[in-house]
Protein backbone atom coordinates (compact mmCIF):
# COMPACT_ATOMS: atom_id res chain seq x y z
CA UNK A 1 0.00 0.00 0.00
CA UNK A 2 2.84 2.37 0.85
CA UNK A 3 4.35 1.90 -2.61
CA UNK A 4 1.28 3.27 -4.34
CA UNK A 5 1.61 6.85 -5.53
CA UNK A 6 -1.03 9.53 -5.96
CA UNK A 7 -3.86 10.54 -3.64
CA UNK A 8 -5.20 8.00 -1.17
CA UNK A 9 -8.77 9.18 -1.75
CA UNK A 10 -10.08 10.32 -5.12
CA UNK A 11 -13.60 11.69 -5.25
CA UNK A 12 -14.85 12.26 -8.80
CA UNK A 13 -18.10 13.95 -9.89
CA UNK A 14 -20.19 12.67 -7.00
CA UNK A 15 -23.92 13.33 -7.07
CA UNK A 16 -26.23 12.33 -4.26
CA UNK A 17 -29.87 13.14 -3.64
CA UNK A 18 -32.56 11.91 -1.25
CA UNK A 19 -36.20 11.35 -1.99
CA UNK A 20 -38.53 13.13 0.34
CA UNK A 21 -42.02 12.01 -0.50
CA UNK A 22 -42.43 12.73 -4.21
CA UNK A 23 -39.64 15.28 -4.24
CA UNK A 24 -36.01 14.62 -4.98
CA UNK A 25 -33.72 16.72 -2.80
CA UNK A 26 -30.20 17.13 -4.16
CA UNK A 27 -27.60 16.95 -1.38
CA UNK A 28 -24.27 16.68 -3.16
CA UNK A 29 -23.65 18.09 -6.63
CA UNK A 30 -20.62 17.26 -8.69
CA UNK A 31 -18.14 16.90 -5.87
CA UNK A 32 -14.56 16.31 -6.92
CA UNK A 33 -11.46 16.40 -4.76
CA UNK A 34 -8.44 14.41 -3.57
CA UNK A 35 -6.99 13.57 -0.21
CA UNK A 36 -3.30 12.78 0.07
CA UNK A 37 -1.95 10.03 2.26
CA UNK A 38 -1.12 11.21 5.79
CA UNK A 39 -3.30 14.26 5.40
CA UNK A 40 -5.64 15.61 8.13
CA UNK A 41 -8.65 17.06 6.38
CA UNK A 42 -11.51 18.94 8.02
CA UNK A 43 -14.86 19.16 6.30
CA UNK A 44 -16.86 22.18 7.42
CA UNK A 45 -20.17 23.71 6.53
CA UNK A 46 -23.54 24.59 7.92
CA UNK A 47 -25.84 21.97 9.28
CA UNK A 48 -27.62 20.06 6.55
CA UNK A 49 -25.01 20.93 3.92
CA UNK A 50 -24.24 17.27 3.26
CA UNK A 51 -21.03 16.79 5.27
CA UNK A 52 -22.10 13.51 6.87
CA UNK A 53 -23.46 12.29 3.57
CA UNK A 54 -20.14 12.92 1.85
CA UNK A 55 -18.19 11.28 4.68
CA UNK A 56 -20.47 8.23 4.56
CA UNK A 57 -19.88 7.87 0.83
CA UNK A 58 -16.10 7.96 1.26
CA UNK A 59 -16.36 5.46 4.12
CA UNK A 60 -18.45 3.10 2.01
CA UNK A 61 -21.62 3.06 4.14
CA UNK A 62 -23.80 4.84 1.59
CA UNK A 63 -24.14 4.77 -2.20
CA UNK A 64 -23.77 7.75 -4.52
CA UNK A 65 -26.20 8.36 -7.38
CA UNK A 66 -23.31 8.82 -9.77
CA UNK A 67 -19.59 9.49 -9.79
CA UNK A 68 -16.70 7.42 -8.49
CA UNK A 69 -14.73 7.22 -5.28
CA UNK A 70 -11.39 5.46 -5.13
CA UNK A 71 -9.75 4.71 -1.79
CA UNK A 72 -6.29 3.21 -1.62
CA UNK A 73 -6.52 2.24 -5.28
CA UNK A 74 -9.87 0.47 -4.92
CA UNK A 75 -12.88 1.91 -6.67
CA UNK A 76 -15.38 1.44 -3.86
CA UNK A 77 -18.31 2.84 -5.84
CA UNK A 78 -18.33 -0.34 -7.90
CA UNK A 79 -18.23 -2.79 -4.98
CA UNK A 80 -21.27 -4.83 -3.94
CA UNK A 81 -22.79 -4.50 -0.45
CA UNK A 82 -21.00 -7.61 0.76
CA UNK A 83 -17.68 -6.58 -0.78
CA UNK A 84 -18.08 -3.16 0.79
CA UNK A 85 -18.64 -4.67 4.23
CA UNK A 86 -15.43 -6.66 3.91
CA UNK A 87 -13.61 -3.62 2.62
CA UNK A 88 -14.79 -1.43 5.50
CA UNK A 89 -13.71 -4.01 8.04
CA UNK A 90 -10.05 -3.60 7.11
CA UNK A 91 -9.83 -0.20 5.43
CA UNK A 92 -11.90 2.29 7.41
CA UNK A 93 -11.80 3.35 11.04
CA UNK A 94 -14.94 5.10 12.26
CA UNK A 95 -15.28 7.74 14.95
CA UNK A 96 -18.77 9.11 15.64
CA UNK A 97 -20.16 12.05 17.51
CA UNK A 98 -21.90 9.84 20.08
CA UNK A 99 -19.03 7.33 20.38
CA UNK A 100 -21.37 4.46 19.49
CA UNK A 101 -19.78 1.85 21.67
CA UNK A 102 -21.67 -1.38 22.32
CA UNK A 103 -23.01 -0.87 25.86
CA UNK A 104 -22.90 -4.55 26.90
CA UNK A 105 -19.22 -4.87 26.08
CA UNK A 106 -16.26 -3.61 28.11
CA UNK A 107 -13.82 -1.07 26.70
CA UNK A 108 -11.48 -3.95 25.89
CA UNK A 109 -14.18 -5.92 24.10
CA UNK A 110 -15.41 -2.90 22.18
CA UNK A 111 -11.92 -2.39 20.83
CA UNK A 112 -11.58 -6.10 20.13
CA UNK A 113 -14.85 -6.27 18.18
CA UNK A 114 -13.49 -5.38 14.68
CA UNK A 115 -10.71 -7.94 15.13
CA UNK A 116 -13.28 -10.75 15.32
CA UNK A 117 -13.63 -10.38 11.57
CA UNK A 118 -9.92 -11.00 11.06
CA UNK A 119 -8.22 -14.36 11.36
CA UNK A 120 -6.31 -13.20 14.42
CA UNK A 121 -5.91 -15.61 17.35
CA UNK A 122 -7.18 -14.77 20.81
CA UNK A 123 -3.75 -13.89 22.11
CA UNK A 124 -3.00 -11.92 18.94
CA UNK A 125 -6.16 -9.92 19.45
CA UNK A 126 -5.30 -9.31 23.09
CA UNK A 127 -1.90 -7.92 22.10
CA UNK A 128 -3.41 -5.55 19.56
CA UNK A 129 -6.11 -4.33 21.93
CA UNK A 130 -3.58 -3.71 24.71
CA UNK A 131 -1.50 -1.61 22.35
CA UNK A 132 -4.48 0.37 21.09
CA UNK A 133 -5.76 1.08 24.60
CA UNK A 134 -2.30 2.16 25.59
CA UNK A 135 -2.16 4.52 22.62
CA UNK A 136 -5.29 6.26 23.91
CA UNK A 137 -4.03 6.08 27.54
CA UNK A 138 -6.89 3.90 28.76
CA UNK A 139 -5.09 0.69 29.70
CA UNK A 140 -6.40 1.03 33.24
CA UNK A 141 -10.01 1.22 32.04
CA UNK A 142 -10.01 -1.92 29.91
CA UNK A 143 -12.62 -3.69 32.03
CA UNK A 144 -14.96 -0.72 32.34
CA UNK A 145 -18.26 -0.62 30.55
CA UNK A 146 -19.11 2.45 28.44
CA UNK A 147 -21.61 3.63 31.06
CA UNK A 148 -18.75 3.73 33.57
CA UNK A 149 -16.65 6.04 31.41
CA UNK A 150 -16.82 9.77 30.77
CA UNK A 151 -17.66 11.09 27.31
CA UNK A 152 -14.03 11.85 26.57
CA UNK A 153 -12.95 8.40 27.71
CA UNK A 154 -15.64 6.76 25.62
CA UNK A 155 -14.49 8.68 22.57
CA UNK A 156 -10.92 7.52 23.24
CA UNK A 157 -12.15 3.93 23.34
CA UNK A 158 -13.90 4.62 20.03
CA UNK A 159 -10.62 5.90 18.59
CA UNK A 160 -8.83 2.78 19.79
CA UNK A 161 -11.53 0.72 18.07
CA UNK A 162 -11.08 2.78 14.91
CA UNK A 163 -7.32 2.24 14.67
CA UNK A 164 -7.27 -1.39 15.79
CA UNK A 165 -7.31 -2.85 12.27
CA UNK A 166 -4.73 -0.33 11.01
CA UNK A 167 -7.16 1.04 8.41
CA UNK A 168 -6.30 2.98 5.28
CA UNK A 169 -8.38 5.99 6.33
CA UNK A 170 -9.99 7.26 9.53
CA UNK A 171 -13.30 9.04 9.25
CA UNK A 172 -14.68 11.12 12.10
CA UNK A 173 -18.12 12.74 12.12
CA UNK A 174 -18.16 15.61 14.65
CA UNK A 175 -15.91 13.68 17.05
CA UNK A 176 -15.91 16.54 19.56
CA UNK A 177 -19.52 17.60 19.06
CA UNK A 178 -20.70 16.05 22.29
CA UNK A 179 -17.71 16.86 24.48
CA UNK A 180 -16.75 19.65 26.82
CA UNK A 181 -13.84 21.83 25.75
CA UNK A 182 -11.21 20.04 27.78
CA UNK A 183 -12.15 16.56 26.56
CA UNK A 184 -12.46 17.91 23.03
CA UNK A 185 -8.89 19.19 23.24
CA UNK A 186 -7.71 15.76 24.35
CA UNK A 187 -9.47 14.05 21.47
CA UNK A 188 -8.12 16.51 18.92
CA UNK A 189 -4.60 16.13 20.28
CA UNK A 190 -4.98 12.40 20.00
CA UNK A 191 -6.13 12.66 16.41
CA UNK A 192 -3.22 14.96 15.58
CA UNK A 193 -0.85 12.41 17.04
CA UNK A 194 -2.42 9.67 14.93
CA UNK A 195 -1.61 11.76 11.86
CA UNK A 196 1.85 12.88 12.87
CA UNK A 197 3.21 9.88 14.70
CA UNK A 198 1.40 7.02 12.96
CA UNK A 199 0.98 8.62 9.54
CA UNK A 200 -2.79 8.11 9.46
CA UNK A 201 -5.06 9.78 6.96
CA UNK A 202 -7.95 11.46 8.77
CA UNK A 203 -11.14 12.95 7.33
CA UNK A 204 -13.06 14.86 9.98
CA UNK A 205 -16.44 16.53 9.74
CA UNK A 206 -16.84 19.41 12.18
CA UNK A 207 -18.40 22.79 12.55
CA UNK A 208 -16.12 23.74 15.40
CA UNK A 209 -13.43 26.11 14.00
CA UNK A 210 -11.16 25.16 16.90
CA UNK A 211 -11.32 21.53 15.85
CA UNK A 212 -10.81 22.41 12.22
CA UNK A 213 -7.77 24.42 13.28
CA UNK A 214 -5.90 21.19 13.98
CA UNK A 215 -6.34 20.03 10.40
CA UNK A 216 -3.92 20.56 7.52
CA UNK A 217 -6.66 21.35 5.08
CA UNK A 218 -10.19 22.62 5.51
CA UNK A 219 -12.88 22.17 2.89
CA UNK A 220 -16.18 23.99 3.03
CA UNK A 221 -19.36 22.41 1.87
CA UNK A 222 -22.21 24.74 1.16
CA UNK A 223 -25.52 23.74 -0.40
CA UNK A 224 -23.96 20.62 -1.81
CA UNK A 225 -21.04 22.39 -3.44
CA UNK A 226 -17.45 22.20 -2.29
CA UNK A 227 -15.51 25.45 -1.97
CA UNK A 228 -11.81 25.68 -2.70
CA UNK A 229 -9.29 24.60 -0.12
CA UNK A 230 -8.59 26.85 2.76
CA UNK A 231 -5.55 26.41 4.89
CA UNK A 232 -6.29 26.19 8.52
CA UNK A 233 -4.26 29.27 9.44
CA UNK A 234 -6.58 31.45 7.39
CA UNK A 235 -9.67 30.57 9.34
CA UNK A 236 -8.31 31.43 12.71
Amino acid sequence: MKTRTGPIVEVRNIYKSYRRGTQTVPVLEDITFDIQEGEFLALMGPSGSGKSTLLNLIAGIDKADSGTITVGGIEITSLSETELAGWRATNVGFIFQFYNLIPVLTAFENVELPLLLTGLSRSGRREHVDLALKAVSLSDRADHYPSQLSGGQQQRVAIARAIITDPTILVADEPTGDLDRHSAEEILDLMERLVHELGKTVIMVTHDPRAAGKAHIIKHLEKGVLNSDVHSEDTL
Binding site: N56, T82, A85, R88, T90, F98, N100, I102, P103, E109
Partner: protein, 385 residues
Protein backbone atom coordinates in the same frame (compact mmCIF):
# COMPACT_ATOMS: atom_id res chain seq x y z
CA UNK B 1 -17.75 -17.04 23.09
CA UNK B 2 -17.71 -13.32 22.55
CA UNK B 3 -20.89 -13.48 20.51
CA UNK B 4 -22.49 -15.65 23.21
CA UNK B 5 -21.72 -13.00 25.77
CA UNK B 6 -23.31 -10.22 23.71
CA UNK B 7 -26.29 -12.43 23.10
CA UNK B 8 -26.89 -13.31 26.75
CA UNK B 9 -26.29 -9.76 27.90
CA UNK B 10 -28.63 -8.43 25.26
CA UNK B 11 -31.29 -10.90 26.31
CA UNK B 12 -31.24 -9.53 29.85
CA UNK B 13 -30.72 -5.87 29.13
CA UNK B 14 -34.36 -5.11 29.69
CA UNK B 15 -34.77 -7.24 32.77
CA UNK B 16 -38.44 -6.66 33.42
CA UNK B 17 -39.49 -7.16 29.84
CA UNK B 18 -37.38 -10.28 29.43
CA UNK B 19 -38.59 -11.71 32.74
CA UNK B 20 -42.20 -11.17 31.78
CA UNK B 21 -41.65 -12.77 28.40
CA UNK B 22 -39.85 -15.72 29.99
CA UNK B 23 -42.69 -16.04 32.49
CA UNK B 24 -45.21 -15.99 29.65
CA UNK B 25 -43.37 -18.75 27.82
CA UNK B 26 -43.06 -20.76 31.02
CA UNK B 27 -46.79 -20.58 31.61
CA UNK B 28 -47.59 -21.31 27.98
CA UNK B 29 -45.33 -24.37 27.92
CA UNK B 30 -46.76 -25.51 31.25
CA UNK B 31 -50.32 -25.11 30.00
CA UNK B 32 -49.47 -26.83 26.75
CA UNK B 33 -47.87 -29.74 28.59
CA UNK B 34 -50.74 -30.15 31.03
CA UNK B 35 -53.40 -29.96 28.34
CA UNK B 36 -51.61 -32.56 26.28
CA UNK B 37 -51.26 -34.74 29.36
CA UNK B 38 -55.01 -34.45 29.93
CA UNK B 39 -55.58 -35.64 26.38
CA UNK B 40 -53.10 -38.45 26.97
CA UNK B 41 -54.89 -39.41 30.18
CA UNK B 42 -58.12 -39.52 28.25
CA UNK B 43 -56.67 -42.14 25.97
CA UNK B 44 -54.74 -43.95 28.70
CA UNK B 45 -57.34 -46.71 28.89
CA UNK B 46 -57.05 -47.22 25.15
CA UNK B 47 -53.27 -47.34 25.26
CA UNK B 48 -53.27 -49.84 28.08
CA UNK B 49 -55.91 -52.08 26.56
CA UNK B 50 -55.02 -55.54 25.52
CA UNK B 51 -55.01 -56.85 21.96
CA UNK B 52 -55.94 -60.37 23.03
CA UNK B 53 -59.15 -59.34 24.73
CA UNK B 54 -62.43 -58.88 22.92
CA UNK B 55 -65.55 -57.25 24.24
CA UNK B 56 -69.02 -58.36 23.16
CA UNK B 57 -71.83 -55.95 23.90
CA UNK B 58 -75.39 -55.35 22.86
CA UNK B 59 -75.56 -54.04 19.30
CA UNK B 60 -78.03 -51.35 20.25
CA UNK B 61 -76.12 -49.69 23.05
CA UNK B 62 -74.06 -50.26 26.13
CA UNK B 63 -77.03 -49.63 28.38
CA UNK B 64 -78.81 -52.67 26.99
CA UNK B 65 -77.95 -56.05 28.42
CA UNK B 66 -77.03 -59.45 27.05
CA UNK B 67 -78.34 -62.78 28.39
CA UNK B 68 -75.82 -64.76 30.45
CA UNK B 69 -76.71 -67.79 28.35
CA UNK B 70 -74.56 -66.39 25.54
CA UNK B 71 -71.51 -67.36 27.54
CA UNK B 72 -71.56 -71.04 26.63
CA UNK B 73 -72.20 -70.31 22.96
CA UNK B 74 -69.27 -67.88 22.81
CA UNK B 75 -67.06 -70.47 24.47
CA UNK B 76 -67.65 -72.82 21.54
CA UNK B 77 -66.15 -70.40 19.01
CA UNK B 78 -62.74 -71.63 17.86
CA UNK B 79 -59.90 -69.45 19.12
CA UNK B 80 -61.69 -68.43 22.32
CA UNK B 81 -59.77 -69.42 25.44
CA UNK B 82 -61.91 -67.85 28.12
CA UNK B 83 -65.17 -65.97 28.53
CA UNK B 84 -65.88 -63.61 31.36
CA UNK B 85 -68.61 -61.03 31.89
CA UNK B 86 -69.18 -57.82 33.75
CA UNK B 87 -71.75 -55.26 34.68
CA UNK B 88 -71.19 -51.63 35.28
CA UNK B 89 -72.38 -51.35 38.88
CA UNK B 90 -72.21 -47.60 39.28
CA UNK B 91 -72.12 -47.74 43.08
CA UNK B 92 -71.42 -44.60 45.09
CA UNK B 93 -69.25 -44.55 48.19
CA UNK B 94 -70.84 -42.12 50.66
CA UNK B 95 -70.90 -39.21 48.22
CA UNK B 96 -71.23 -38.72 44.46
CA UNK B 97 -67.89 -36.96 44.30
CA UNK B 98 -66.05 -40.05 45.54
CA UNK B 99 -66.25 -41.56 42.10
CA UNK B 100 -64.30 -44.66 41.09
CA UNK B 101 -65.22 -47.29 38.50
CA UNK B 102 -66.87 -50.37 40.03
CA UNK B 103 -67.99 -53.55 38.32
CA UNK B 104 -69.75 -56.77 39.05
CA UNK B 105 -67.69 -59.40 37.32
CA UNK B 106 -67.16 -63.09 36.94
CA UNK B 107 -64.34 -63.28 39.46
CA UNK B 108 -62.43 -66.32 38.26
CA UNK B 109 -62.13 -65.34 34.63
CA UNK B 110 -61.55 -61.71 35.50
CA UNK B 111 -58.42 -62.64 37.41
CA UNK B 112 -57.17 -64.68 34.45
CA UNK B 113 -58.11 -62.12 31.84
CA UNK B 114 -56.43 -59.20 33.57
CA UNK B 115 -52.85 -60.24 34.23
CA UNK B 116 -51.93 -56.55 34.49
CA UNK B 117 -53.83 -56.41 37.81
CA UNK B 118 -51.35 -57.91 40.21
CA UNK B 119 -53.01 -59.50 43.27
CA UNK B 120 -51.05 -61.49 45.88
CA UNK B 121 -51.98 -65.19 45.76
CA UNK B 122 -53.43 -65.36 49.29
CA UNK B 123 -55.66 -62.36 48.61
CA UNK B 124 -56.82 -64.00 45.38
CA UNK B 125 -57.92 -67.08 47.28
CA UNK B 126 -59.61 -65.04 49.98
CA UNK B 127 -61.50 -63.05 47.34
CA UNK B 128 -62.69 -66.12 45.46
CA UNK B 129 -63.89 -67.69 48.69
CA UNK B 130 -65.90 -64.72 49.96
CA UNK B 131 -69.27 -64.18 48.23
CA UNK B 132 -69.23 -60.53 49.32
CA UNK B 133 -65.52 -60.13 48.63
CA UNK B 134 -64.17 -57.29 46.51
CA UNK B 135 -60.82 -56.36 44.99
CA UNK B 136 -59.81 -52.73 44.74
CA UNK B 137 -56.97 -50.86 43.06
CA UNK B 138 -54.17 -49.48 45.15
CA UNK B 139 -55.00 -45.84 44.44
CA UNK B 140 -58.63 -46.11 45.46
CA UNK B 141 -57.73 -48.10 48.58
CA UNK B 142 -55.24 -45.40 49.58
CA UNK B 143 -57.71 -42.68 48.80
CA UNK B 144 -60.26 -43.98 51.28
CA UNK B 145 -57.84 -45.66 53.66
CA UNK B 146 -59.28 -49.13 53.04
CA UNK B 147 -57.44 -52.16 54.36
CA UNK B 148 -57.92 -55.86 53.84
CA UNK B 149 -60.96 -57.06 55.76
CA UNK B 150 -62.63 -53.65 55.82
CA UNK B 151 -66.35 -53.61 55.18
CA UNK B 152 -67.34 -51.10 52.52
CA UNK B 153 -70.88 -50.08 51.68
CA UNK B 154 -71.73 -48.77 48.22
CA UNK B 155 -75.03 -47.14 47.40
CA UNK B 156 -76.43 -48.57 44.17
CA UNK B 157 -77.53 -46.12 41.52
CA UNK B 158 -78.42 -48.57 38.78
CA UNK B 159 -79.22 -51.32 41.26
CA UNK B 160 -80.99 -49.68 44.21
CA UNK B 161 -80.07 -50.38 47.80
CA UNK B 162 -77.03 -50.41 50.02
CA UNK B 163 -74.52 -53.06 49.05
CA UNK B 164 -72.00 -54.36 51.52
CA UNK B 165 -68.59 -55.66 50.45
CA UNK B 166 -65.52 -56.96 52.24
CA UNK B 167 -62.14 -55.86 50.86
CA UNK B 168 -60.33 -59.12 50.17
CA UNK B 169 -57.68 -57.97 47.74
CA UNK B 170 -55.78 -54.86 46.73
CA UNK B 171 -54.23 -54.97 43.29
CA UNK B 172 -51.41 -52.94 41.85
CA UNK B 173 -50.75 -52.26 38.17
CA UNK B 174 -48.13 -54.17 36.23
CA UNK B 175 -47.38 -50.97 34.31
CA UNK B 176 -47.39 -47.27 35.03
CA UNK B 177 -50.27 -46.94 32.62
CA UNK B 178 -52.43 -49.55 34.39
CA UNK B 179 -55.56 -48.13 35.98
CA UNK B 180 -55.26 -48.62 39.75
CA UNK B 181 -58.62 -47.15 40.70
CA UNK B 182 -61.05 -49.95 39.82
CA UNK B 183 -63.23 -51.86 42.22
CA UNK B 184 -64.73 -55.22 41.31
CA UNK B 185 -66.75 -57.87 43.06
CA UNK B 186 -68.61 -61.11 42.35
CA UNK B 187 -71.29 -60.86 39.69
CA UNK B 188 -73.09 -63.78 41.39
CA UNK B 189 -73.56 -61.62 44.51
CA UNK B 190 -75.39 -59.02 42.43
CA UNK B 191 -77.32 -61.60 40.45
CA UNK B 192 -78.63 -63.50 43.48
CA UNK B 193 -80.05 -60.30 44.94
CA UNK B 194 -81.58 -59.33 41.63
CA UNK B 195 -83.28 -62.71 41.38
CA UNK B 196 -85.13 -61.83 44.58
CA UNK B 197 -85.74 -58.12 44.09
CA UNK B 198 -85.89 -57.58 40.34
CA UNK B 199 -86.05 -60.93 38.55
CA UNK B 200 -86.44 -59.38 35.10
CA UNK B 201 -82.96 -57.90 35.47
CA UNK B 202 -81.35 -61.10 36.64
CA UNK B 203 -79.17 -63.37 34.50
CA UNK B 204 -78.18 -60.46 32.30
CA UNK B 205 -74.72 -58.98 31.84
CA UNK B 206 -73.41 -55.68 30.48
CA UNK B 207 -70.73 -57.21 28.32
CA UNK B 208 -68.72 -60.33 27.78
CA UNK B 209 -64.97 -60.26 27.99
CA UNK B 210 -63.35 -62.81 25.74
CA UNK B 211 -59.79 -64.03 25.80
CA UNK B 212 -58.42 -65.26 22.46
CA UNK B 213 -55.42 -67.42 21.61
CA UNK B 214 -53.53 -64.64 19.79
CA UNK B 215 -54.21 -61.13 18.51
CA UNK B 216 -54.42 -62.28 14.87
CA UNK B 217 -57.42 -64.58 15.43
CA UNK B 218 -59.33 -61.75 17.18
CA UNK B 219 -60.99 -60.32 14.03
CA UNK B 220 -62.29 -63.75 12.92
CA UNK B 221 -63.54 -64.57 16.40
CA UNK B 222 -65.39 -61.25 16.55
CA UNK B 223 -67.10 -61.85 13.21
CA UNK B 224 -68.12 -65.39 14.18
CA UNK B 225 -69.65 -64.28 17.47
CA UNK B 226 -71.66 -61.47 15.93
CA UNK B 227 -72.88 -63.78 13.14
CA UNK B 228 -73.99 -66.29 15.73
CA UNK B 229 -76.36 -63.84 17.41
CA UNK B 230 -77.61 -62.21 14.24
CA UNK B 231 -81.42 -62.07 14.13
CA UNK B 232 -81.63 -63.00 17.79
CA UNK B 233 -83.37 -60.87 20.39
CA UNK B 234 -80.10 -59.30 21.46
CA UNK B 235 -77.73 -58.82 18.55
CA UNK B 236 -74.10 -58.22 19.47
CA UNK B 237 -71.14 -56.12 18.55
CA UNK B 238 -67.78 -57.67 19.25
CA UNK B 239 -64.65 -55.62 19.06
CA UNK B 240 -61.21 -55.47 20.58
CA UNK B 241 -60.94 -53.90 23.97
CA UNK B 242 -59.12 -51.03 22.34
CA UNK B 243 -62.01 -50.30 19.99
CA UNK B 244 -64.40 -50.72 22.90
CA UNK B 245 -62.51 -48.12 24.93
CA UNK B 246 -62.40 -45.81 21.96
CA UNK B 247 -66.16 -46.03 21.55
CA UNK B 248 -66.43 -44.80 25.13
CA UNK B 249 -64.15 -41.91 24.42
CA UNK B 250 -65.76 -40.98 21.12
CA UNK B 251 -68.71 -39.72 23.11
CA UNK B 252 -66.43 -37.02 24.50
CA UNK B 253 -64.20 -36.60 21.47
CA UNK B 254 -65.37 -33.03 20.86
CA UNK B 255 -63.92 -32.02 24.22
CA UNK B 256 -60.62 -33.62 23.37
CA UNK B 257 -60.54 -31.76 20.07
CA UNK B 258 -61.18 -28.50 21.90
CA UNK B 259 -58.45 -29.18 24.45
CA UNK B 260 -55.99 -29.97 21.66
CA UNK B 261 -56.97 -26.81 19.86
CA UNK B 262 -56.59 -24.70 22.99
CA UNK B 263 -53.15 -26.16 23.64
CA UNK B 264 -52.02 -24.95 20.22
CA UNK B 265 -53.72 -21.59 20.58
CA UNK B 266 -51.72 -21.04 23.76
CA UNK B 267 -48.54 -21.50 21.73
CA UNK B 268 -49.73 -19.13 19.01
CA UNK B 269 -50.50 -16.46 21.60
CA UNK B 270 -47.10 -16.70 23.21
CA UNK B 271 -45.59 -16.55 19.73
CA UNK B 272 -47.23 -13.15 19.28
CA UNK B 273 -46.01 -11.96 22.69
CA UNK B 274 -42.48 -13.13 21.96
CA UNK B 275 -42.51 -11.58 18.48
CA UNK B 276 -43.52 -8.29 20.05
CA UNK B 277 -40.68 -8.48 22.58
CA UNK B 278 -38.13 -9.19 19.88
CA UNK B 279 -39.47 -6.46 17.61
CA UNK B 280 -39.22 -3.89 20.41
CA UNK B 281 -35.78 -5.10 21.39
CA UNK B 282 -34.37 -4.94 17.90
CA UNK B 283 -35.95 -1.58 17.20
CA UNK B 284 -34.21 -0.17 20.27
CA UNK B 285 -30.90 -1.56 19.11
CA UNK B 286 -31.13 -0.37 15.54
CA UNK B 287 -28.17 1.92 16.17
CA UNK B 288 -26.02 -0.88 17.54
CA UNK B 289 -26.74 -3.13 14.61
CA UNK B 290 -25.89 -0.22 12.33
CA UNK B 291 -22.55 0.14 14.12
CA UNK B 292 -21.80 -3.55 13.78
CA UNK B 293 -22.64 -3.39 10.09
CA UNK B 294 -20.43 -0.32 9.77
CA UNK B 295 -17.56 -2.27 11.30
CA UNK B 296 -18.05 -4.89 8.60
CA UNK B 297 -20.26 -7.45 10.33
CA UNK B 298 -22.59 -9.09 7.84
CA UNK B 299 -26.17 -10.26 7.77
CA UNK B 300 -25.23 -13.65 9.19
CA UNK B 301 -23.65 -12.14 12.28
CA UNK B 302 -26.60 -9.87 12.95
CA UNK B 303 -29.09 -12.69 12.31
CA UNK B 304 -27.15 -14.92 14.64
CA UNK B 305 -27.26 -12.31 17.39
CA UNK B 306 -30.98 -11.73 17.06
CA UNK B 307 -31.94 -15.38 16.64
CA UNK B 308 -29.60 -16.36 19.46
CA UNK B 309 -31.20 -13.84 21.77
CA UNK B 310 -34.67 -15.06 20.85
CA UNK B 311 -33.50 -18.62 21.41
CA UNK B 312 -32.03 -17.81 24.85
CA UNK B 313 -35.29 -16.26 26.03
CA UNK B 314 -37.41 -19.08 24.59
CA UNK B 315 -35.09 -21.78 25.93
CA UNK B 316 -35.15 -20.44 29.48
CA UNK B 317 -38.94 -20.14 29.41
CA UNK B 318 -39.32 -23.53 27.81
CA UNK B 319 -36.96 -25.26 30.25
CA UNK B 320 -38.71 -23.82 33.30
CA UNK B 321 -42.07 -24.68 31.78
CA UNK B 322 -40.98 -28.28 31.27
CA UNK B 323 -39.48 -28.44 34.75
CA UNK B 324 -42.72 -27.22 36.25
CA UNK B 325 -44.86 -29.57 34.17
CA UNK B 326 -43.86 -32.62 36.21
CA UNK B 327 -44.79 -31.42 39.70
CA UNK B 328 -47.87 -29.69 38.27
CA UNK B 329 -48.96 -32.89 36.52
CA UNK B 330 -48.41 -34.80 39.73
CA UNK B 331 -50.56 -32.41 41.76
CA UNK B 332 -53.13 -32.33 38.99
CA UNK B 333 -53.19 -36.10 38.63
CA UNK B 334 -53.50 -36.64 42.39
CA UNK B 335 -56.44 -34.32 42.77
CA UNK B 336 -58.21 -35.62 39.68
CA UNK B 337 -57.33 -39.28 40.03
CA UNK B 338 -61.00 -40.29 39.98
CA UNK B 339 -61.36 -38.88 36.47
CA UNK B 340 -57.89 -39.66 35.19
CA UNK B 341 -56.62 -42.85 36.81
CA UNK B 342 -53.47 -42.53 34.71
CA UNK B 343 -51.95 -39.07 34.46
CA UNK B 344 -48.41 -39.25 33.14
CA UNK B 345 -46.44 -36.62 31.22
CA UNK B 346 -45.51 -38.41 28.01
CA UNK B 347 -42.05 -38.08 26.55
CA UNK B 348 -43.61 -36.94 23.29
CA UNK B 349 -45.15 -34.01 25.17
CA UNK B 350 -41.70 -32.87 26.25
CA UNK B 351 -40.45 -33.11 22.68
CA UNK B 352 -43.43 -31.09 21.54
CA UNK B 353 -42.67 -28.49 24.22
CA UNK B 354 -39.15 -28.18 22.87
CA UNK B 355 -40.35 -27.99 19.29
CA UNK B 356 -42.85 -25.30 20.30
CA UNK B 357 -40.05 -23.32 21.99
CA UNK B 358 -37.89 -23.54 18.89
CA UNK B 359 -40.74 -22.49 16.62
CA UNK B 360 -41.63 -19.57 18.89
CA UNK B 361 -37.99 -18.43 18.94
CA UNK B 362 -37.71 -18.69 15.17
CA UNK B 363 -40.98 -17.00 14.31
CA UNK B 364 -40.27 -14.17 16.76
CA UNK B 365 -36.85 -13.57 15.23
CA UNK B 366 -37.78 -13.62 11.55
CA UNK B 367 -39.22 -10.13 11.18
CA UNK B 368 -36.60 -8.38 13.35
CA UNK B 369 -33.84 -10.17 11.45
CA UNK B 370 -35.29 -9.09 8.16
CA UNK B 371 -35.46 -5.50 9.38
CA UNK B 372 -31.93 -5.51 10.74
CA UNK B 373 -30.52 -7.03 7.56
CA UNK B 374 -32.26 -4.65 5.22
CA UNK B 375 -31.45 -1.66 7.42
CA UNK B 376 -29.40 0.94 5.57
CA UNK B 377 -26.42 1.83 7.72
CA UNK B 378 -26.71 5.56 7.09
CA UNK B 379 -30.33 5.49 8.27
CA UNK B 380 -29.47 3.39 11.29
CA UNK B 381 -26.70 5.77 12.35
CA UNK B 382 -28.92 8.78 11.74
CA UNK B 383 -31.32 7.50 14.39
CA UNK B 384 -28.63 7.69 17.03
CA UNK B 385 -27.73 11.31 16.28
Amino acid sequence: MFILKILFKNAFRHKLRTSLTVLGITIAVLAFGLLRTVVGAWYAGVEASSATRLVTRNAVSLVFFLPISYKEKIRQVPGVTEVGYSDWFGGVYKDEKNFFPNFATDAKTAIDLFPEFIIPADQKTAFLRDRKGAVVGRKTAERFGWKLGDIVTLKGTIFPGNWEFVIRGIYRGAQKSTDETQFFFHWSYLNESLKKTAPYRADKVGWFLIGVKSPDVAPDVAVTIDKMFKNSLAETITETEKAFQLSFISMTEAIVVVIRLVSFIVIVIIMAVMANTMAMTVRERTGEYAIMKTLGFGGWHISGLIFGESLVIAAIGCASGIALTFPAAKAFGDSLSQFFPVFIVARSTIYMDMAAGLIVATVAAVFPIWRAITLRIADGLRRIG
